[in-house]
Symmetry: C2
Subunit: 218 residues, 2 copies
């Protein structure tokens, strides 16, 4: 730290840091193409540590994480995806159906690290503060933590793919998690085959990104 501008620390951040943060968000992708080489445990642990820094309603920290390691659990999760994806395909016709069928929508076959993230809907931590009128705030807290983890992982060059084409209640049963846990995300994590600036869905012509429109006011 020789530059006066680099006053990182004590809650102050530099122009250079802000530019890097924007760059990070610019390069963050939902990754479905993974290399199979291992993720060093220390890097994974460093990224996971950001969960405890995430905002949570009433400081309830309702996130619960299960790493999916065994062949049986991985096969169960993959089959769940395949079934949900086949069901989803039925919702499209013609050209869109062809395009959908050709998309690679999960990295579950390759990603070396796979983590299912749940919300404990009945945690007593936080004593319900902030979640009485909007109990969905607990699940939103879990999403906030996942987003911090995603950015931290990408800052290490790790890719993350969030699989949502799943029968969530069925997967909870397969993984034998407590009844009060709701599945929020199934995360595939590993080294991406390549770094991309453009979302794959945009690249393949499924959808394109819009700028945020001017704010409405009231």
């Amino acid at each position: 730290m020789t530059d006066n501008d680099k006053n990182i620390g004590a809650g102050q951040f530099s122009d250079e840091f802000r530019a890097g943060l924007l760059d990070l968000m610019h390069w963050r992708r939902d990754v479905r193409h993974f290399r199979r080489d291992a993720v060093p445990q220390q890097i994974l642990d460093d990224c996971l540590a950001t969960f405890s820094l995430a905002p949570s309603v009433g400081l309830s920290q309702p996130w619960r994480l299960v790493q999916i390691k065994s062949d049986a659990a991985r096969q169960g999760a993959l089959k769940n995806f395949q079934h949900a994806n086949a069901e989803a395909l039925k919702g499209y016709e013609g050209e869109k159906a062809c395009l959908y069928a050709g998309l690679k929508l999960t990295g579950m076959q390759d990603a070396p690290v796979q983590i299912a993230v749940f919300c404990d809907e009945t945690t007593e931590q936080g004593a319900g503060l902030g979640a009485q009128s909007m109990p969905e705030m607990r699940r939103y807290s879990v999403v906030s933590a996942i987003m911090q983890f995603w950015l931290a992982a990408r800052a290490h060059g790790l890719g993350l793919g969030w699989v949502s084409i799943l029968d969530a209640p069925a997967l909870c049963q397969t993984l034998e998690v407590p009844q009060d846990w709701a599945l929020v995300a199934y995360l595939c994590i590993g080294w991406p085959q390549d770094d991309k600036e453009q979302p794959e869905l945009e690249q393949l012509g499924w959808e394109y990104r819009r700028e945020l429109p001017p704010l409405e006011t009231r």
Copy 2:
């Protein structure tokens, strides 16, 4: 950029940047004590631009933002909070009720910028990809975008407070938003009265933070 380590750009990030990112997450707070001085429009716009970089299911970008500026809309939102907060207080007894009653749980009276964030539950953008078996993914996408905005704001020194003690359907009516929009968050934004490392709920003895426990495995 004179240091070889600072290869920021093209999706690569330095150790220094990663340390700054961890610092940012460490200093991010849910802020309820705001100074009343204005937020420069350019800073707000820069932060809002991160919405378009956020992940969204099927590239659906379902976030919809309404800035609450008029006295009438602000009063309506504040009354909504006050009513919901009085209801929430009834859920506590004894010491916890006293503690709850003494907490400042919103900065709505002071925050110069206030933005209600909604999810368009029926957007056709993305053609439903990834949201058929888990339609809540649209709301989770909105939360992801809010989280990016929150970190970008904090990197500028701005505070954000996420108000969730609200009757969401009633607030949608008050603000006359389209029927298919669900309220995800009411955000108070402005310069914080002070920078804090510790969450206010922890400082005041409501709850304390836990480290992430070791991952369960399956």
